[in-house]
Point group: C2
Chain length 246, copies 2
DNA sequence: GTCAATACTTTGTCCTGACAAACTCACATG
DNA sequence: CATGTGAGTTTGTCAGGACAAAGTATTGAC
């Protein structure tokens, strides 16, 4: 087996042992030193060789199983099924996605007001009709071209962003910075034709196909953070996601 | 605390103890007997009261944490964040989705041939251009109306379905029955306008917006099972998904 | 040679015990 | 009154052991 696995683990590190083990295994698999289909050493030997207990090894392997890199079969062993980390869909904002894919997002804030919550957002946010919320309308550019028209409703108690913040950062970044970490979300992805106003704003032809996404996000305490209703130029954008069952 | 949690666990059952505990907790939370925001009993007391060890309780709680129902904080405790099970996106077929939402799917097999793999599918399936595959074109109805036009490419070694099977079952069911369990998939969701042929088949107007989804699925051993390229009537269908970070 | 019983390997479940780290809150101190 | 110190609570990590269940390979009977 590869040399990395022989190196001693750092017991003085704040990084948990199971995570150190998982990271090493992951690196070996990503570099192809343990090929797809190959079996890794059994848990008991691995534990002994690395000088940790079997539960620690199991936890490390479990971590990689959940990421879709490994699968285990009782009586058989643990096999590599995929060399890349297949992250489940992430709870990220378009802004972060664009940045991490090397593009340069720019945001134009079209509207920023406090107003009674629109009907569709009220249901999603689980708040009374008539309650005031911050209502935001933004136009997101990537590579100099308009990409998406975004509408958000945010409860007043959660965040009161200003135009400058919104122009320079993603909404999720602002939420996180305010101590509201999005943890859970439900999304609906659909499609429809652009209205003439939308077509004009997005520099598309009238009736062009748009990808729609609406999302409600909650924090760890179960409080609603935001409702968003966005349209994307289907000619420039699509959603990509990986799934795994375990 | 609610009475269900007091009932004795069944140690003779093949259902693991941690799962029995998780199921009970889940039921209590879903019925609202432990409200959102409420803290559940700490692990050590819970373990003692149910007569199991703390690792078993931890595993049960972990299971619900991963499903987005509970969150834990060191030094604080474990809280209910959402009363419904938030399943992560599932690796299921449209057919199964329709059945489980109480609709009655019907499938019309438009084409079923063995032919050289189309270029787009070759890349997704990671096979040589020119290799022969089973090529399927299906029209899926729900509630008497056409809903989706589906194209699939399947390696010959994986499955050789016949028309009758395809008309009566979902593709994923056939795959599973043949011993090929889909475990990992990558999907792209986008949108575009219908061609006139598509519009005719789906009884939409020409140029109507369609939701597109292409997917590649692998089994546990990392073998490619299928590539699918589907279009859905955006007026009748959208994708719904829940996400959580943990 | 075929097929069933058996031994072996490997992961799955569960236990007890221990200490560490993060958080809360009361209390003493300036 | 503000502040930080320390005790108490709760989850996080880790050890080591035991047996069960599922699969694989070998062996033996017919």
């Amino acid at each position: 087996m590869a040399p990395e696995l022989h190196a001693r683990l750092d017991r003085s590190s704040p990084v948990p042992l199971y995570f150190q083990v998982a990271s090493r295994l992951q690196a070996l698999i990503e570099r192809g030193e343990i090929g797809v289909g190959a079996r890794i050493e059994n848990e008991i030997d691995l534990a002994e060789r690395l000088g940790v207990s079997r539960p620690t090894i199991r936890r490390a392997i479990q971590y990689l199983v959940e990421r879709g890199m490994l699968i285990r079969k009782r009586g058989v062993g643990t096999q590599v099924v995929h060399p890349k980390v297949r992250r489940p869909v992430e709870l990220s904002s378009l802004y972060d996605d664009l940045v991490s894919s090397g593009r340069t997002p720019r945001t134009e804030v079209l509207q920023l007001t406090v107003m009674p919550v629109p009907a569709q957002a009220a249901a999603a946010l689980e708040i009374e009709l008539g309650t005031e919320v911050t209502w935001i309308e933004r136009l997101r550019y990537a590579g100099g071209e308009p990409l998406a028209l975004m509408h958000n409703a945010i409860p007043l108690g959660v965040l009161r962003p200003d135009r400058a913040d919104l122009a320079e950062h993603g909404l999720y970044e602002l939420l996180r910075r305010a101590g509201h970490v999005p943890r859970i979300a439900t999304q609906m992805i659909g499609a429809r034709s652009a209205t003439s106003a939308e077509a004009r704003t997005l520099t598309e032809k009238r009736g062009a196909s748009l990808l729609t996404m609406s999302r409600t996000a909650w924090d760890a305490a179960g409080h609603v953070l935001e409702y968003g209703s966005h349209v994307y130029r289907a000619s420039r954008y699509s959603f990509e996601l990986s799934l795994s069952t375990h």
